[in-house]
């Protein structure tokens, strides 16, 4: 603690974790760091739950016949896997935990602009999550996470309304988080922290928040209309009532395609921070990485129709959507090339976060190029709704986003908790995740091209060998995730204490505050005088 004797306020020795031990001090807190921890815990619970459903899916698919569970059970299991992972894990994962924790620190603010709204958004998330859990224990829902009409609005006999309500409520949590971020980034930056000096993590979250604000309300109202149709038999999307089921898909994907960028962009922000820090290099092409985040966010709203090439959408509309989808590949490629270039002539550490970041770059690239394949209309004719899509999606989301989330969690773990994690175990888990992931999902590309449709609970015999490989990989992947769960929990209570505010010699305002940060973040309001990622001028020490 001797490092902080010079801080003017003695109270600064109380950090945000030790500032109050009552339940109220956590559940009624306005402190963005505590809310981030609340999110971290709840998100972990949902990730575990979604993972359990995934395990059930993989076990069932080991054999071509549906012998482990009934078709109906299987449908509910994959729906719950999708709903939980998308709405309650992937969308809030990085923004609500790492973003919540780090954005005020990175911009030099004492908190987010609206702490009470931040807390409200956690409660909304929890209410949505409880609805989701209620559905899971009370009989399940079997529509798939996409809620396509008229199946969801008319034919399904499961708890569609409760699930959609959960997604609806969680959507507002997402909107409020985005709103808070944008206001904070615009209005609460420390003096000297110009837009050109903002960490790329903040840029990525800015782009994410824009999508959250503009996209989420559309899916919210769409789900409301779907629930009205189901509840009162009034027609919006059911052709029997004069509606158009494809309209539901349009409105749904208007949000849900940009939503995949809500999921991946924050991960890209994390990777930018990790790559620079562990290469000891300023980022290569700062403006291009920042700009590509915005480009992805905006272009993302023009491409939703690529989910509907064979869904009865007009061929010509499909053509336009296909072309713009190809264009989205460019900013994504720019990012990957820039990260790779950042490593050039760097001083590259092989610590856990960097291993995850390297894994991200490779796997995200595969996810991206297979996305280009699916954007080709002719290939989509064959591969739409097959395991090829499943594999592509998981390469981006698990190989990309979850890798980035794990990397970021390791990177900022000491800052968040004031404890360290066992480095060796971290590296082992990073390797296990990488191997297990590829073993799980690579065979799905092949089986997808062979024609294995999604959401099948039984399938022809010749696909079995790939499913067995997938299931085996899922086992390895499971261990890869279990390991960090164990050592992080251990570290939280009994890990070695970290008091160095900047153990990895990283740049950025979050590393100038004590570890763990005090409730007010900055005892003295920071002033930024240095360019972003000034790793090369390491001699000039601190930012303040």
């Amino acid at each position: 603690m001797s490092a902080y004797v010079e801080t003017p306020d003695a109270a600064s020795k109380v950090n945000y974790l030790t500032n109050g031990w009552t339940w109220q001090s956590w559940l009624l807190t306005g402190d963005h760091k505590r809310i981030a921890m609340l999110y971290l815990i709840s998100i972990t619970v949902f990730f575990a739950l979604g993972g359990a459903f995934a395990a059930a899916i993989r076990l069932e698919l080991m054999t071509p016949r549906g012998d482990l569970m009934e078709a109906e059970t299987y449908n509910k299991v994959f729906t719950m896997h999708g709903v939980i992972m998308i709405f309650f894990f992937l969308i809030p994962s990085v923004p609500a935990t790492l973003g919540n924790f780090l954005i005020p620190l990175m911009v030099g603010a004492k908190d987010l602009a609206f702490p009470k709204i931040n807390l409200l958004s956690w409660y909304l998330y929890i209410i949505g999550g409880i609805l989701g859990l209620y559905v899971a224990v009370s009989g399940g829902v079997d529509t798939g996470w996409t809620f396509y009409t008229p199946y969801s609005s008319t034919y399904s006999n499961s708890a569609v309304i409760a699930t959609a309500m959960g997604a609806f409520v969680a959507g507002f949590s997402s909107i409020l988080t985005g709103l808070n971020f944008i206001v904070t980034i615009h209005k609460m930056r420390a003096p000297g922290l110009t837009w050109g000096r903002l960490p790329l993590f903040v840029w990525a979250h800015y782009a994410t928040s824009l999508i959250q604000l503009l996209g989420t309300p559309v899916v919210a109202i769409t789900l409301v209309l779907m629930m009205l149709e189901r509840g009162f038999r009034i027609g919006f999307f059911d052709p029997a009532l004069g509606g158009d089921p494809v309209l539901f898909q349009h409105l749904f994907w208007f949000y849900s395609h940009p939503a995949v960028y809500i999921m991946i962009l924050p991960g890209m922000g994390v990777i930018s921070e990790i790559v620079t820090c562990y290469s000891k290099k300023s980022v290569f092409g700062y403006e291009f990485i920042a700009g590509s985040s915005l480009a992805i966010a905006i272009l993302g709203f023009f491409v939703w129709g690529h989910h509907m090439f064979v869904a009865g959408q007009s061929t010509y509309a499909g053509m336009v959507f296909s072309l713009i989808t190809f264009a989205v590949a460019v900013p994504s490629a720019v990012k990957v090339f820039n990260w790779a270039a950042t490593m050039y002539k760097g001083s590259i550490s092989w610590d856990t976060p960097m291993l995850y970041a390297m894994g991200f770059m490779g796997l995200f690239t595969i996810g991206g190029v297979t996305g280009v394949m699916l954007a080709t209309m002719a290939l989509d004719l064959h591969m739409h709704d097959t395991y090829f899509v499943v594999a592509h999606f998981h390469y981006v989301m698990v190989g990309g986003m979850v890798m980035a989330f794990m990397g970021g969690l390791h990177f900022w773990w000491s800052k968040m908790t004031g404890r360290s994690y066992p480095e060796m175990a971290g590296r082992v888990s990073a390797f296990l995740v990488f191997i297990g992931f590829n073993l799980t999902f690579f065979p799905q590309f092949i089986v997808g091209y062979l024609g294995m449709p999604r959401r099948y609970h039984a399938y022809p015999d010749e696909f079995q060998v790939y499913h067995v490989m997938s299931t085996a990989g899922a086992g390895v992947l499971g261990i890869g995730y279990l390991l960090p769960a164990i050592y992080f929990t251990y570290s939280l209570f009994a890990g070695k204490r970290v008091t160095d505010p900047n153990p990895v010699n990283a740049k950025g305002l979050e590393w100038t505050v004590p570890t763990p940060p005090p409730t007010e973040n900055f005892i003295v309001p920071p002033v930024v005088t240095e360019e972003v990622y000034a790793y090369a001028e390491q001699e000039e020490k601190s930012l303040v």
Binding site: P104, A109, K110, D111, L112, A113, F114, P115, I117, I175, L179, N180, I182, V183, T184, H186, K187, M188, P191, L213, L214, G215, T216, P217, V218, V219, A220, I221, T222, V224, L225, L228, F232, R233, I234, G235, F236, L241, G242, G243, D244, L247, H250, L251, F254, E520, P525, V527
Partner: protein, 219 residues
């Protein structure tokens, strides 16, 4: 202004929340926050506007027939009522800016009065529809041509005006809170921020109606 004095400012001004450096930052933040919220509201109604545009072009005849059964005089009256409430709201903000507390309180009361009037008229319209079996669902009966298509318009009518009415009810709740704090004298020319952002919300709800009226009643 040095940063040190900003900290002192924050301690001096009771209305500045701890996370903000000064009143200006707080004012701009909450204002931006409300504008961003309205941005999401535009998209929220936008989904229904999208559905409206599609079905309006699919079933032009049915929509024309269906809109003849709406009560245009009541709709027009409601438009006027909302515009009046927008005026009183704007004047409320102005009174707060000028520090006229009494005027502020009265203007908020008037705004709420007209808001409630609007909802009252809406309730009359709804019960009229119910009476004529024009509420979609099991109860729906349409004597003329194209019942199925007409019903789609009524689905949109109830979804859009219903969602608008929900916003009005929320607005009335916010206004009640604003009224109580205004009576307590919370607002001064230095601090009238909440009045202004509540006003923004109120005007937005008015704008939605400005579009709903011609879309659902007239064309």
């Amino acid at each position: 202004m040095s940063d040190h004095s900003a900290v002192l400012d924050a301690h001096q001004d009771e209305h500045v929340a701890h996370q903000f450096a000064n009143a200006k930052q707080q004012y701009e933040s909450s204002n931006l926050g409300m504008w961003l919220f309205l941005m999401t509201e535009v998209m929220f109604f936008g989904g229904m506007f999208g559905a409206y545009v599609i079905y309006r072009t699919w079933y032009p005849e049915a929509f024309k027939i269906a809109s003849t059964a709406t009560n245009v005089p009541l709709g027009a009256m409601n438009t006027v009522v909302l515009i009046v409430s927008s005026l009183t709201m704007a004047l409320a903000v102005q009174s707060a800016q000028l520090g006229k507390k009494k005027m502020l309180v009265w203007m908020i009361i008037l705004t709420m009065f007209f808001g409630a009037w609007f909802l009252g008229v809406k309730a009359i319209e709804y019960s009229e529809k119910w009476h004529h079996h024009h509420v979609p669902g099991a109860n729906f009966i349409w004597e003329g041509d194209g019942g199925r298509e007409v019903q789609i318009l009524y689905c949109l009518y109830f979804a859009m005006t219903g969602m608008h009415a929900v916003h009005m009810v929320v607005g009335l709740g916010i206004m009640t809170w604003l009224l109580l704090t205004a009576i307590k004298g919370h607002y001064t020319p230095k601090y009238y921020n909440p009045v202004e952002i509540c006003g923004l919300y109120w005007h937005f709800v008015d704008i939605v109606w400005i579009f709903l009226f011609p879309m659902l009643y007239l064309i």
